[in-house]
Amino acid sequence: MWDGESNVLDEFRRGNVDAFESLFRLHQRAVYAWIMKIVRNPAAAEDVTIETFWRIHRAHARFQPSRGFEGWARSIATHAALDWLRGHRRESEDFAEQATELAANAISDPAISSEIRRKTAQAFARLPPRLRITATLAVVEERPHKEVAEALGISVAAVKVRVFRALRRLRKDLQQQGITP
């Protein structure tokens, strides 16, 4: 249907819905996977993926084909996921339970009890969203700092500062609960 990716991108920029659908089909899995790493909830990740592509469509006229679609989409997805985290801060219990379930299925250190894992997940969910999202991507998912910086629209130095603050707050929170990491 399309001669090449640049043609699809040009057509998308002009507002062509078929071109948008082609890009959606091509990138939805990657966008969903990225969002899932942040929100860690399949239903929420689907909603945020829809929200992301809706924002992408709204912003089609501002898209610059020379900069590529993937990075642009990832940045929009990151901000949509950040908004979701901001709107769901009270759901730390649910987050901790899901994290504990996932941890139970994963290979984990027997020296770290499920109670400690649950409390760590709860403390993590209590972090301010901008620290939480940075720590999720840079520490939990071990994404390169440059990639995290581009997705969040901040500098690499700012990513390092946020990671440091997130780990410090987490440590303090756990110490207040009698856990010494």
């Binding site: 659908e21 969903y32 399949p42 996932l102 984990s108 894992r117 939990v140 998912e141 440091f164």
Partner: protein, 73 residues
């Protein structure tokens, strides 16, 4: 926080929040996205067709009303 503490916190986080493996949506998200975009092709409903038919019948019965209808369109 020294580098050792930092490393311990990272390890603890890895155990509490393991990597995500479910990396595919469970359903096709395109229909939901289309609904959100509201870019469905406009298919007239039966009410629209009934209104058009009514207008044609009205115009046929009272041709003098056509200029008035056109004025208000």
């Amino acid at each position: 926080m020294n580098p050792h503490d930092d490393e311990r916190m990272r390890q603890l986080l890895h155990h509490a929040l393991p990597p995500i493996s479910e990396l595919e949506p469970t359903r096709d998200l395109w229909p939901a996205l289309l609904r959100k975009l509201d870019v469905h092709p406009a298919i007239p409903s039966w009410i629209d067709w009934a209104l058009v038919a009514g207008l044609i019948v009205f115009a046929a019965c009272a041709p003098a009303s056509v200029p008035v209808l056109l004025y208000y369109l």
